[in-house]
Symmetry: C2
């Protein structure tokens, strides 16, 4: 189509965001036309800018890049979505794909892949690390129910059962039951390990 690819860049750490913008700025055919630091600013800003590609970090305040991707995919389906993340968690990849992402990159990957991914998604291709894709398929889907995930998330900061029960409007016994089933599903010994494993897998 037009001469340059218009990109929206979403990443909460200013220094990283501007550095990525500088990197993309080196490419003649790519132009970063908007930058945001929060997930919940993605959609409003995208609406104002007629962009071709949105580059979304996952870990952001407001809402995650995956949630932002889902919103964009629904509201502006022609915009291509590149999800970028620090952590190559298979569960993240799965969620990103379900949210309509066209590419999934980890920040460990060489910088050259970034511009390349932008061009490829615009050409209709999908860009996914094959190793990660294999891992995502191998580990299967998230076995936790909504409640189990909720309780596990709430337990992540070291809260006691009584605090969890109060926060979630449940009885202590129920909290323990949910944690117990989560612990069994994740094949671990206690809640702390359960939180860690669920985090690593991107299930939390």
């Amino acid at each position: 189509m037009s001469s340059t690819i218009k990109v929206l860049l979403a990443e909460d750490q200013s220094m990283v965001r501007e550095a990525l913008a500088a990197l993309l700025g080196l490419e003649d055919d790519i132009e970063v036309v908007a930058q945001v630091a929060r997930g919940d600013e993605v959609l409003p800003t995208a609406r104002q800018h007629d962009i071709d590609v949105a580059l979304l970090d996952i870990e952001m305040p407001g809402c995650t890049g995956i949630e932002a991707a889902a919103q964009l995919h629904k509201a502006l389906p022609t915009v291509k979505l590149v999800v970028l993340t620090t952590f190559g968690r298979p569960g993240y990849l799965r969620s990103a794909m379900e949210a309509g992402a066209d590419a999934f990159l980890v920040k460990d990957a060489p910088a050259a892949q970034l511009a390349e991914a932008v061009r490829k998604v615009l050409a209709g291709e999908r860009v996914i690390d094959p190793t990660l894709a294999a891992a995502a398929l191998a580990e299967g889907a998230n076995p936790l129910t909504d409640r189990e995930r909720e309780v596990l998330r709430a337990a992540a900061d070291g809260s006691t059962n009584a605090e969890l029960a109060a926060a979630l409007h449940l009885s202590q016994g129920t909290v323990r039951n949910y944690l117990s089933t989560a612990i069994q599903k994740l094949a671990v010994r206690n809640r702390a390990e359960a939180v860690r494993i669920a985090r690593e897998k991107g299930w939390l």
Copy 2:
């Protein structure tokens, strides 16, 4: 001295590292002459390159940027040290300063501060976020003994007392005692919270 400032860049995530290099490359007076992805490659690489400034991320495999800073400060005391980190933990700032760092930047800060910091440290100035400095002074020093820190670090992944005891060649009772004193010093309710707080403060 010479025309351009020679910089060594240490950061484990390729994409971020190369993006930062691109950012610094936009400055006429700064040149990134070497890049490494691991803490333990910093010193050997610095020896080969006659650099003016080392830009060190804290979170790296091999060894942390703070340990690398200490090594550099000892071996090549004329090299100026800029420590860069995702997390503005007061304890990190303190450790970095003790390791001989000249500047401490968080990745949240505007990108312009990076080049600025490089120039300032070379001019003999120190660059520290005043808010962080205040926080570091306000919270005081790390109250944990070596053993307490060690046990807490080992407990971070959700290991049980028996596993900790085996891993650290201690009795279970001793492990519990250390955790207990750590929990009291940090004024929290259990090990999980203790780990979280110690992490946040940069004491872990």
